[in-house]
């Protein structure tokens, strides 16, 4: 046993991009290896859950947890790692605010299974087989994790010490965070490690006062390279998205889609986008306003909650009435 502080990295409902992002800090990864004893990183090293289970509470110094919580197994791991780690970091957008997996909250488990195991053209499943939580075989019962109706963020599942936003977090920000943690120069627990302002702050485009008569889809115009995309009618989330990426997308003419999540203290990313855009619609006539909105924003959830549906105030779309809800007293 070395005396080095222990480091764990885990992925739950995520695409793996965060893992790559960690390696994105290039050779500095070696510094990390020097500084830490990496005890658990399923994507990169071999390791056993059991060995974690065997650890004493808080034995792990730092756990970088990426991915949202979609299955019982992920929730179990979240609880386990929380128990064993001093510092638990929600790493990346999925853990922070649900991200793309969180968009699953527009549907139910039933609907998702229906699509992925029947409806998709590439599916051949004449028996209509579906993953079962329990399967009896000769050897006994086989278990699969239970698949939830609703994707939750890490913060909604266990207590989180720090959030590192981004899909994925920029290597530099990751490094900043790591050094901060190593040097103990940490913000108060619960904080988001990152900038306190939004993408426009880093965006090179020129901005004027805003008045919008029509919202445009990206394919509808070739945007002027100098002028603010929003002023050209393109829904750019830069106004509401936490800075830190260096305004990569808008700089190259593609609107910000909000992967860095809301700014400091904001409780609902979508609400900020809605209120800001609505405020600058250039019309006082109800009919006109309604048509500007419905024509320009065919998919409000996709436009305003692409990364934060699970994290917003409403967290998901209404369940169909038949979906059975949990008896409250048993919750969590």
């Amino acid at each position: 046993m070395t005396g080095k502080p222990k480091l764990a990295l885990y992925w739950a409902a995520s695409c793996g991009g965060c893992e790559i992002a960690v390696l994105g800090i290039d050779e500095r990864i070696l510094k990390v290896a020097e500084a830490f004893d990496i005890v658990f990183w399923p994507c990169v090293l071999d390791g056993k859950v059991r060995s974690i289970e065997k650890m004493a509470d808080k034995e792990i110094e730092l756990c970088l947890f990426n991915g949202a919580i979609r299955t019982s197994e992920q929730e179990y791991m979240a609880r386990l790692l929380r128990q064993k780690s001093k510092v638990l970091v929600a790493f990346g957008s999925c853990a922070h605010e649900g991200c793309i997996p969180g968009l699953g909250n527009v549907a139910t488990r039933e609907e998702i299974f229906q699509i992925s195991y029947h409806d998709t053209p590439s599916t051949v499943n004449p028996e209509g087989t579906r993953p079962q939580a329990e399967t009896e075989v000769a050897e006994g019962t086989l278990y699969l994790p239970h698949f939830y109706d609703t994707v939750k963020t890490l913060g909604q599942t266990v207590e989180v010490d720090y959030y590192l936003p981004g899909c994925p977090p920029e290597p530099e920000r990751i490094w900043d965070a790591l050094t901060a943690i190593l040097t103990g120069a940490l913000p108060p627990p619960g904080a988001v490690i990152g900038a306190q302002t939004t993408v426009c702050d880093e965006c090179p485009r020129t901005r004027e006062e805003k008045k919008i008569k029509e919202f445009k889809r990206t394919w509808e115009i070739i945007p002027d390279p100098e002028v603010c995309l929003l002023e050209q009618g393109i829904i750019c989330c830069g106004i509401a998205t936490r800075a830190g990426c260096g305004a990569l997308c808008p700089t190259v003419g593609s609107p910000c889609i909000g992967c860095y999540g809301p700014n400091e203290g904001v409780q609902d990313f979508g609400a900020r986008m809605m209120t800001a855009l609505a405020s600058v619609i250039d019309s006082d006539d109800p009919q006109e306003i309604e048509s500007i909105i419905s024509r320009g924003i065919p998919d409000p959830i996709g436009s305003f909650y692409r990364f934060s549906l699970a994290h917003g105030q409403l967290r998901r779309c209404a369940l169909p009435l038949e979906a059975d809800t949990l008896d409250a007293t048993k919750a969590a």
């Binding site: 302002t197 939004t198 106004i239 900020r272 600058v280 409250a328």
Partner: protein, 674 residues
């Protein structure tokens, strides 16, 4: 450290206690709400004793927050803020819950009302904990005052202020001040000659060194705030150079063009194209009516110019603009007269000898078109019988639901004048005789004694269709004598319609211009119907006279003086407290996206190019919070209405509903008492 909140529930006599279990509510708050250290109920919290209660607790218990469950904050927020301040607690750490207006007075089930009260109190407690110390800033009060409307009300207000040594700008739409009162012959109940008591006041205004009289002018726009308004005045082109005009009146004499005077003579008389509404007009300068003047129509004539001894005529004169800085505004814009053609059954405009009340006023006026003779439309015949019809367009859902307040007394006055001048038989057709003022009932008695006949019954119609002998050639007033319970046809020579007083046709635009509101009937809304009748919801803007609601001359004058007194108080104090409820942009959070830049109607938000952030000018900010709600980066905070405060209030209000934090839900149906 945790806050110490004091909760005070007012009984408001039985107003609240009658519908809300106030003791229970206080007990509940004390026992169940976090951070509540004191919870009391008391008969009248707004009483000095009630306030002392709070002050003592602040001192003794070291309260850091106060919640008062009583009436609407619009009534007593100031009171309780003062109480807190007296005890050394920042007044903005007090929050009111409107248990009376929002619960006891609108509910009919005591249990449900009490439940709602719990929610409101819990909301207020949660909110107040988030509230922050704020400090009202002071702004100087400009000692000049803008008075809009030169009727007797505006004149009174202007003189009160000017005599006290403060400068007044008096703006009047017509060429002369004087308003409706200048058109009257006598005033009830004293029968003073209207001109005799008004014209001295008018000339005082004309000569007063502290009054700038802007007649034939209108207010274009008003900006700024209490103590510091800026008003833009449009002086319409008189076509007469006031500087050169001596008011000799030759021009009027020589003008060949005669037109009907629809304004001052109520359409009963004529005036010239260049005119002065009436001989004692103030200012004395005439005006050319460009719609009527031959020169403007045909390009020739110029008689006035030829004969003017001082070359004061200026056909090219343009409207001019005047920018004024004033500290306060008094609106005394008066009323319009009901157009009786809207009630065809009374025949006005169709039957020659049906007259409007204003026409009759002019007819009685010695200086009027008939030299004070009461005659029929033919101009010569003296009526032997006259019917005065009350409530024409008043107390009538189809026109104006309200009582016009002055018509009964005016009708009595007409009765007296008619009897005096013609000896005619005068009938008054009334619904209810309303004479509730000093010496008014006595005046009624007098007219009864003078033989005026009173028929209780609203007139059904006035017709010239004779039915019975003796009706030929007469106007027949058809009514029910409700006291006799019989139909009655009263043949008369002349009918006078007591038309309603109506809000100015442009009252709503005026209200908008000055940032005040109108009642549903279109009268300007006072701050409080009983306790603050001349102030409005907009600090520094006061209302007086009929523009606030129908009233007679004494009441109007009283209000004019009252408004002036309120303004003087402001001026003598010298400064006004500017509510610290303003928006602030936190530079560190602002990304300079400029969403907020064009949201502020007062242009309080500017973009600082150098820093690349937006900035709110607190002096201009009126605290509406629109920018706060709009900022996508949540970089703008609104004092006293911060997100945290409102979030907490929502949580408090819904204390008994399903909590939203994902854990520990009660899913029992909402609404069941907790």
């Amino acid at each position: 450290m945790a806050e110490k909140v004091g909760v005070y529930i007012c009984h408001c006599g039985s107003n609240i206690a009658g519908m809300v279990d106030v003791e229970g509510l206080a007990r509940w708050a004390g026992a169940n709400l976090e951070d509540v250290t004191v919870a009391r109920d008391y008969k009248f919290m707004c009483s000095s004793l009630g306030q002392e209660l709070i002050e003592e607790d602040i001192k003794k218990e070291g309260l850091t927050r106060v919640v008062v469950g009583a009436c609407s904050p619009h009534l007593h927020e100031k009171t309780f803020r003062k109480a807190c301040a007296n005890a050394g607690l920042n007044p903005y750490l007090m929050q009111m819950a409107s248990l009376r207006e929002q619960i006891s007075w609108v509910s009919s089930d005591k249990d449900k009302a009490t439940e709602k009260a719990k929610a409101l109190i819990s909301g207020a407690v949660r909110r107040v904990i988030e509230q922050e110390e704020l400090f009202a800033s002071e702004a100087p009060v400009n000692p000049n005052t803008l008075v809009v409307g030169g009727g007797v009300t505006g004149i009174q207000a202007a003189l009160e202020l000017a005599d006290a040594g403060y400068h007044v700008y008096l703006v009047e739409r017509e060429p002369s001040i004087g308003g409706h009162m200048a058109q009257f012959d006598k005033t009830f109940p004293t029968l003073d000659c209207s001109a005799c008591i008004l014209t001295p006041k008018m000339s005082d205004v004309g000569q007063h060194e502290s009054i700038t009289l802007l007649s034939y002018a209108e207010v274009e726009e008003v900006t700024g705030y209490v103590g510091n308004f800026h008003a833009r005045i449009r002086k319409r082109a008189r076509s007469v150079k006031e500087a050169d005009c001596t008011g000799c009146g030759v021009c009027i004499e020589k003008c060949p063009k005669k037109v009907i005077d629809d304004v001052f003579e109520a359409g009963l008389g004529y005036r010239k194209a260049i005119y002065r509404p009436f001989p004692q007009a103030v200012p004395k300068y005439p005006v050319i009516d460009r719609e009527a003047c031959t020169y403007y129509l045909k390009g020739t004539c110029k008689a006035c110019e030829k004969f003017c001894p001082t070359n004061a005529i200026d056909f090219e004169q343009q409207d001019s603009f005047l920018d004024l800085d004033v500290g306060n505004v008094i609106l005394a814009t008066g009323f319009d007269m009901f157009d009786s053609t809207r009630l065809p059954q009374y025949g006005y405009g169709r039957l020659a000898n049906v007259f409007s009340n204003l026409e009759f006023e002019r007819m009685c006026n010695a200086a009027g078109p008939t030299d004070g003779k009461v005659v029929l439309r033919d101009g010569v015949t003296t009526p032997e019988s006259i019917a005065i019809v009350h409530c024409v367009g008043s107390r009538d859902k189809k026109h104006n639901p309200y009582c016009s307040a002055v018509c009964c007394m005016a009708a009595l006055k007409f009765g007296h004048l008619a009897i005096e001048k013609t000896g005619a038989q005068v009938y008054s057709f009334y619904i209810d005789m309303r004479t509730p003022h000093k010496n008014y009932e006595e005046f009624y008695d007098r007219l009864l004694a003078e033989g005026m006949q009173f028929v209780r019954g609203r007139v059904a119609e006035v017709t010239d269709a004779a039915r019975l002998p003796g009706e030929e050639g007469k106007l027949i007033v058809q009514s029910e004598d409700t006291l006799a319970g019989r139909q009655r046809r009263t043949p008369v020579d002349m009918v006078v319609l007591m038309g309603a007083l109506e809000p100015r046709h442009d009252a709503r635009e005026t209200a908008l211009k000055f940032g005040i509101s109108c009642s549903m009937n279109g009268w300007f809304t006072e701050r409080h119907p009983k306790l603050d009748p001349v102030a409005t919801m907009t600090d520094g803007v006061f209302i007086a006279g009929v523009c606030q609601g129908p009233k007679d001359i004494p009441d109007s004058v009283a209000q004019g003086a009252a408004a002036a007194a309120r303004v003087m108080a402001m001026i003598t104090k010298g400064t006004v407290l500017i509510e610290p409820v303003v928006a602030t942009i936190h530079e560190e959070n602002c990304s300079g996206c400029r969403i907020c830049n064009n949201l502020c109607p007062y242009n309080a938000i500017t973009f600082l190019e150098d820093k690349g952030v937006s900035y709110v000018n607190a002096a201009l900010c009126k605290g509406c919070g629109t920018c706060v709600a709009a900022c996508p980066a949540q970089a703008i905070s609104g004092a006293h209405f911060s997100n945290e405060q409102i979030f907490s209030e929502i949580e408090g209000l819904l204390y008994d509903a399903i909590s939203g934090n994902g854990a520990g839900h009660k899913v029992e149906p909402a609404g069941v008492p907790a």
